[in-house]
């Protein structure tokens, strides 16, 4: 029972947070709604990061490449063909003439993101630790350069423009909701459990027969799919896309959100995305002047970035596991209760497998005498 509730909370908590943000957003002006939509889309990217980094414990700076691929593919193939022929004359023929629906472009983004991530993962995921992190960063650089200069697959240094704007507030919320459900469902799989074991102790995990490479690759591919999907949402939110928008700034913004929220939990990823997103958009509004009651404040330009940076440092010092403590929603509330009469000696049982599941395996190491 207890772990059922915990499980429901694990999924409902993040979804409820998204619903609350969306309801609040819908009461705001159109301009502010755009900001809220942006927060939802960015949080979708954070969820993508979490699926890999959170479960594997390996930092990746390359996930924005998959966002970029999803965004450019969805943007180019949904922009009017006449615009494409005018702005991007060197495109491959099929890219310049194929027209797909906006919905299909979301699926295409997810598919391409997954494919790209899989190919990158096959090459890179045998590395570990720092070298893996740097190698993923190299992938981001390569993607950026190819998209910026190869005018047969994109607009080169120019932005893709006149992309239909369909990611409204509600669509953004639905998109994020889908990402959360996928991340949650993945978390329930055997492969993810094993991946978490490798995160905890790689030596022991390999020793008992877990393939680190295989399970990291699965997580990386799913993360790539969510990232590509988020990229497609992103381009339909903005109506245009240029390579600079899916590059280092977005990489660090989303990593900051994940770290502040808490790398180790889905709840942390969603919380971090929303909290930092709200703060950033409030601060950038304040740079243009906001009224707090009768008090009119105008922050100096650029201060919002500084404040976000300071918050990140403060969180890293005082709460290295993020504001969620890397716990799932209400996880501590449920796990503080004793498991069974007589065995409740565990105040903080954060075991990755709950009692319920492990007891399915007929292991009963009890004294037989």
């Amino acid at each position: 029972m207890r772990s059922k509730f915990r499980l429901v909370a694990e999924l409902v908590g993040p979804l409820a947070a998204v619903a609350i943000v969306t309801v609040f957003g819908s009461t705001m002006s159109i301009a502010q709604q755009g900001n809220v939509t942006n927060i939802l889309v960015t949080t979708t990217i954070v969820v993508a990061l979490y699926v890999f980094t959170g479960n594997s414990g390996v930092m990746s700076f390359g996930q924005i490449s998959f966002v970029a691929v999803g965004a450019f593919a969805a943007g180019i193939l949904t922009a009017p063909t006449l615009t494409r022929q005018a702005n991007m004359p060197s495109l491959f023929k099929f890219l310049s003439t194929t027209q797909i629906s906006n919905f299909d472009s979301l699926l295409l983004g997810a598919g391409l993101g997954a494919l790209f991530a899989f190919l990158v993962g096959v090459v890179l995921l045998r590395l570990s630790g720092l070298s893996a992190g740097i190698a993923t960063f190299a992938v981001l650089e390569i993607t950026y350069d190819v998209l910026s200069y190869w005018d047969k697959i994109g607009p080169g240094v120019m932005p893709v423009v006149l992309v239909p704007v369909t990611t409204t507030l509600v669509m953004g919320a639905l998109g994020l909701g889908v990402a959360i459900v996928v991340a949650f469902a993945y978390q329930r799989t055997r492969s993810c459990r094993l991946l978490r074991a490798t995160r905890e102790d790689a030596v022991a995990a390999q020793g008992i027969g877990i393939s680190i490479f295989q399970h990291r690759l699965i997580a990386f591919t799913i993360s790539g799919a969510i990232a590509g999907f988020a990229g497609a949402l992103f381009v339909h939110e903005l109506g245009s896309i240029s390579t600079g928008q899916v590059y280092i700034d977005l990489t660090f913004a989303t990593l900051a959100m994940l770290v502040v929220g808490g790398t180790g939990s889905l709840w942390g990823a969603v919380l971090g995305g929303i909290a930092l997103g709200v703060l950033e958009s409030f601060l950038s509004n304040a740079e243009n002047g906001v009224a707090i009651g009768s008090w009119h404040v105008t922050l100096p330009n650029g201060l919002s970035v500084v404040i976000v940076g300071v918050i990140m440092v403060v969180v890293l010092i005082f709460a290295p596991k993020g504001i969620s403590g890397s716990h799932e929603f209400l996880e501590r509330f449920f796990s503080h209760r004793p498991a069974k009469a007589g065995t409740g000696t565990e105040p903080e049982s954060t075991a990755k497998m709950t009692d319920e599941e492990s007891s399915e395996v007929p292991l009963s190491p009890r004294p037989t005498s």
């Binding site: 008992i208 027969g209 190491p365």
Partner: protein, 236 residues
């Protein structure tokens, strides 16, 4: 007879440092063999190389087949289990979950010689702390769990890296009692120890390793001359 494990001119280097120079040894089915030697002799590196966890040169044969290029998880699925130095339990998981994970590499299509019941009888004490977090156990308790976890894969060969390290004498006794019973069901053991006397008493055969090379092979029955053992141990 083809030995279960055969190392042929095994070499392990870390950068410029040569940890294992030239090790050739055999472990037969069901046999307990120890590898003793001082700190830095290359004992752990040898075990890690067998498991495929470090790069090595030379050959490792398991049942006559080279294991070149295999990752540790592949060896686990071929019936090799390792109890690494420092135990390496999943600290935030319960003891029970640690043990469940141990059954992952069990080979399909055969009745396990060692199953949950056998392990529960071997270590009845584990039942008392099965629901606790592994990281909260004492060193001796952790060592028993680490051995139990390795056994649950039903291995043919158990590699043990300093299982007595840091344990109280009574805990060391418990470990060796367990090893005795594990050997009795036919699991071959390759035991790395600094405590030469204890290890050589337990095993049928032993090798003394010093500076990455085998200095002496000790066989049961041959009257061990303690002085030559000491000399080999300290590389004199």
């Amino acid at each position: 007879m083809i030995p279960l494990l055969r190392l042929d001119n095994l070499q392990v280097t870390y950068g410029r440092v040569v940890a294992v120079k030239n090790v050739t040894l055999e472990v037969n089915e069901g046999e307990a063999v120890c590898l003793v030697g001082p700190n830095g002799a290359g004992k752990s590196s040898t075990l890690l190389a067998v498991m495929g966890a470090v790069r090595s040169r030379g050959d490792v044969f398991l049942r006559g087949t080279s294991t070149r290029g295999l990752q540790p998880e592949a060896l686990a699925h071929l019936g090799v289990a390792m109890v690494p130095e420092g135990r390496h339990l999943f600290d935030t998981m319960s003891v029970k979950d640690n043990l469940v994970l141990g059954t992952l590499a069990r080979r399909r299509g055969r009745t396990p010689r060692i199953d949950e019941r056998w392990v529960a009888e071997l270590f009845p004490i584990i039942g008392e702390f099965a629901s606790r977090r592994a990281g909260l156990l004492s060193g001796g308790q952790q060592q028993l769990v680490a051995i139990a976890r390795a056994l649950l894969s039903d291995p043919d060969l158990l590699l043990l890296d300093e299982p007595s390290l840091g344990l109280a004498p009574v805990a060391v006794d418990a470990v060796f009692e367990a090893l005795e019973r594990i050997r009795a069901v036919g699991v071959a053991i390759l035991l790395v120890e600094q405590r030469a006397q204890r290890a050589t008493d337990f095993c049928e055969r032993g090798y003394v390793l010093s500076d990455g090379e085998i200095r002496l092979e000790v066989t049961e029955g041959t009257s061990e001359d303690p002085e030559s053992l000491m000399a080999a141990y300290f590389g004199r």
